[in-house]
């Protein structure tokens, strides 16, 4: 599978690809060969140029220089339509589905063949397309209802629809840009099985990922980008992925190529005793959550884990005042805030890193400075009076955030949409950290971040804890939870299925709580020793 790609005609051959966005040199003379029937990893820090390179392959961005060959034949796609027609499918880093459409409409849009007249007059055969979608979904065990409206689907299901969409035209080559960033571990496992199946069918896959375990499991070969240029390639043979020592060495080598240093280990944490900050009692949204009790003290990180869709988003919305509870109380620092507006809660010292930065975290067309100061506008430091925004200060503040969180951008005045996915996340996280909150509600704070940046966010969250703040961490990444949390609760069907402290962390027990399986060993054996896990 990993045979030297030089001997065979590569499925994809990019040569000398160069692309600038104004002052940003996103791709510098990149060469990339992808062997047919292999999974090729594309790694690199946030802003290294991975998405740009793949969008060039897919015809969505036009390179300033360089050539593309598919199966040895030179191509020059002017649009994604041409790439699709040539048998390339791509799953974008950010969802590119239409929420108001059904799954099947999303799958067939733009795909019909035939004359313009027939496409203008002939009825679309949705039932036939739906039958095909059901069949395809069946084949990969997706269980997607082709008639479901996309906006009603969970993030995991949407990701599957994206993959169906990429495969729809019978693509032989698939590009996946961080497909598991928003998936829970079991969902990601399902996806890995699908990708392995696709490879076994002889399809070629390019996988962009920041998750090393995933790369080690799936990829035959990786290419690492830094600063828009290729810094190295690595082969991953079957032997590497089984021998733990070789594996660790290889991982370290790839991380080194990516960020040029090792990510600093997290500091030891002493347990802290702080005052009660968040007190939630009998909270319910009358539908998907509750009744739920939860207490957070200063100097404590409490993780909420669970399969997505078990009440996590509802909990966050209630805490932030984005929806109204039907029952129960929320108190912050002994003040009942249940009826407070979001604005008032922010002023009371709650900060919120939102789970889906595109749905609620950022305004894509607004500048970084606007985005960085949203939520601060009702008082110091940017609005000395009600009629006046301190524009200069906002820009300066944004520049401080950019500097502090290593956001890769030439200017605070560019629109948010010009940032790479991970860099958008860094700015949002930076903005919320800068509030110096009493309570941080952090939902998937490291989603889409590279290893170095994720580690920086982990340090920052621990820093908040050190300063006596309370952190509520919602994460799908158990390694992250184990590394940070003092305590965790498992949410299932809107209720707390179980709780444990850091000393008791036990991945099997958590899994049982998450899935609702019967607890086979009730209290007879002492809690098993926590598994040590490296933070990705």
């Amino acid at each position: 599978m990993s045979g030297a790609p030089e001997n065979q005609i590569p499925a994809i051959h990019l040569a000398g690809i160069d692309k600038r966005f104004g002052a940003v040199h996103a791709n510098r003379a990149i060469d990339l060969r992808v062997a047919p029937g292999s999974i090729h990893g594309l790694l690199g820090e946030n802003g290294a140029g991975k998405s740009t390179l793949m969008k060039i392959l897919f015809g969505m961005i036009h390179a300033d220089a360089g050539t593309v060959e598919i199966d040895g034949a030179p191509v020059s796609f002017r649009s994604s339509a041409e790439a699709l027609a040539a048998g390339i499918g791509m799953v974008q880093q950010h969802f590119s589905l239409i929420g108001a459409f059904s799954v099947v409409e999303n799958l067939i849009m733009g795909r019909a063949q035939g004359s313009a007249l027939s496409r203008l007059t002939r009825k679309l055969d949705l039932p036939a397309a739906a039958a095909r979608a059901a069949e395809l979904s069946e084949r990969f065990g997706f269980g997607i209802d082709p008639w479901a409206k996309v906006s009603t689907l969970s993030v995991g299901a949407r990701q599957k629809v994206e993959i169906l969409k990429a495969l729809w035209g019978g693509a032989r080559t698939l590009v996946l840009d961080e497909p598991t960033a928003a998936l829970s571990p079991p969902e990601a496992d399902e996806l890995y099985a699908v990708l392995e199946k696709l490879r076994a069918e002889g399809r070629t896959i390019v996988l962009i990922s920041h998750k090393m375990p995933e790369v080690m499991r799936l990829c035959d070969r990786v290419t690492v980008l830094r600063d828009g240029a290729v810094v190295g390639n690595a082969e991953i043979s079957a032997r590497d992925t089984t021998d733990p020592k070789v594996r660790a060495e290889l991982e370290a080598r790839m991380v080194d190529m990516m960020i040029g240093r090792e990510s600093p280990a997290l500091p030891d944490r002493a347990p802290q005793e702080g005052p009660l900050i968040l007190d939630v009692r009998g909270l319910s949204d009358g539908h998907r959550l509750g009744p739920l009790d939860l207490q957070l003290h200063g100097g404590e990180i409490v993780a909420v884990v669970g399969v997505e869709g078990n009440g996590q988003s509802e909990l966050v919305d209630l805490l932030m005042g984005l929806s109204k509870p039907t029952d129960g109380l929320i108190a912050i620092d002994n003040r009942n805030v249940t009826d407070w507006s979001t604005q008032k809660r922010l002023a009371a010292g709650i900060a919120h890193i939102s789970e889906d930065r595109h749905a609620s975290g950022v305004a894509n067309d607004m500048s970084l400075a606007d985005n960085a100061s949203i939520g601060y506008l009702d008082g110091e430091p940017f609005s000395p009076g009600p009629w006046y925004l301190a524009w200069r200060d906002r820009v300066r503040f944004t520049e401080v955030l950019i500097e502090r969180h290593k956001v890769r951008t030439p200017s605070a005045l560019l629109p948010m949409s010009s940032l790479s996915g991970g860099n958008q996340q860094k700015l949002v996280v930076g903005r919320e950290l800068a509030r110096s909150p009493r309570l941080m509600v952090a939902a998937q704070p490291t989603r889409g971040l590279d290893i170095g940046s994720a580690s920086a966010v982990h340090h920052a969250l621990l820093g908040l804890r050190e300063r006596g703040a309370a952190v509520l961490l919602l994460s799908l990444d158990l390694a992250e939870v184990f590394a940070l949390a003092d305590r965790l609760v498992v949410l299932r069907k809107g209720q707390i299925a179980g709780a444990m402290t850091a000393a008791e962390f036990d991945i099997d027990q958590i899994g049982r709580w998450m899935s609702g399986a019967q607890d086979t060993t009730p209290d007879t054996t002492p809690a098993t020793a926590p598994r040590k896990q490296e933070v990705a």
């Binding site: 339509a81 590119s96 589905l97 239409i98 007059t121």
Partner: protein, 307 residues
């Protein structure tokens, strides 16, 4: 009261609805593709004027209709160039169309005919009565009052609905309005789809104007559309950007207009201006009350640019 609500009243309601329906269809196509079009009024005036001018010059009212199509294409292409190709602000571009449409047509009347305000009569499109329809039970008498041109306008409603909701082209167009980025990733040429939709909206609005000038009447008068382009927009919003409901709202506006006209004959106590304001008052009240949160296509108003 029974001689107030007569067949004639409903027939006149349908006649009065047509010049709202046509621009409504145009506006709907345009906005479902993601481009705001508040320029319908100006496009209608252009069409009304173009129809009269061509009918006058050629002596053939059918060529007058063709002239309206021409001015519609022109105004549509201008707006599409400004808002789709050059990615200018869509509201500003359309406002410019309205201002130029009103100003230019008013200014051209004295230049061509040498008189201000209203043109002399030009050949008007014949409105042949439909044979046999009178015999159809129930709706027969009403249909007998309509002309083939009216029926074509109503058929267009069905055609637009069919294309928009049932065909591949319609799916592409709606995709561009919901998410230009998603449509682009799916291989849809967003710029092209939007350009065509905006141009088409110009043609449909212009035909609505021509209906006023050389089907209903036989002349052009400055500002003769009297806000129907904006009523068409209101109908689209009431109808939540759906063809069927928006069509019904247009019929409602037509009925309100017809009632105002007829009430003028029946009573002399009510101020006429107030009566003619009826559709607009209805529109305002409805917009402010039961339409509630009317949300259009998700990506409407946002220019699309590829990296």
């Amino acid at each position: 009261m029974s001689d107030f609500f007569t067949i004639a009243l409903f027939a006149s309601a349908l006649h009065l609805a047509v010049p709202i329906i046509l621009p409504m269809l145009g506006g709907l196509l345009c906005e479902r593709s993601g481009v705001i079009n508040i320029g319908l009024e100006g496009m209608m005036l252009g069409g009304a004027f173009g129809a009269v001018a061509f009918s006058y010059v050629t002596g053939n009212p059918w060529l007058g209709l063709l002239g309206a199509v021409g001015t519609g294409l022109l105004s549509g292409v201008i707006l599409a160039t400004m808002s789709v190709l050059l990615r200018g602000d869509q509201v500003i571009g359309a406002t410019a169309i309205n201002l130029v449409g009103a100003g230019l047509t008013a200014a051209l009347v004295p230049i061509i005919w040498g008189i201000d305000g209203t043109t002399p009569s030009v050949p008007k499109v014949p409105t042949p009565e439909l044979p046999f329809v009178g015999q159809i039970p129930l709706v027969g008498p009403l249909l007998a009052e309509l002309s083939a041109i009216d029926l074509v306008a109503f058929a267009l409603v069905g055609a637009v609905w069919w294309v928009l909701m049932r065909t591949d082209m319609g799916l592409r167009l709606r995709a561009c309005g919901e998410s230009a980025a998603a449509a682009d990733a799916a291989g849809i040429d967003v710029t092209r789809v939007r350009f065509i939709a905006v141009t088409l909206s110009g043609v449909l609005a212009a035909l609505g104007g021509a209906y006023l000038s050389i089907v209903t009447l036989d002349l052009f008068q400055a500002s003769m559309t009297q806000g129907r382009g904006f009523l068409a927009l209101a109908a689209m919003v009431f109808g939540k950007w759906r063809v069927g409901p928006a069509f019904l709202v247009c019929l409602g506006f037509g009925l309100a207009d017809a009632i105002a006209l007829r009430a003028q004959i029946f009573t002399h106590d009510l101020p006429h201006d107030l009566l003619f304001a009826l559709p607009y008052v209805l529109a305002l009240v409805a917009l402010a009350t039961f339409v509630g949160r009317a949300t259009g296509p998700a990506d409407v108003g946002k220019p699309f640019r590829r990296a």
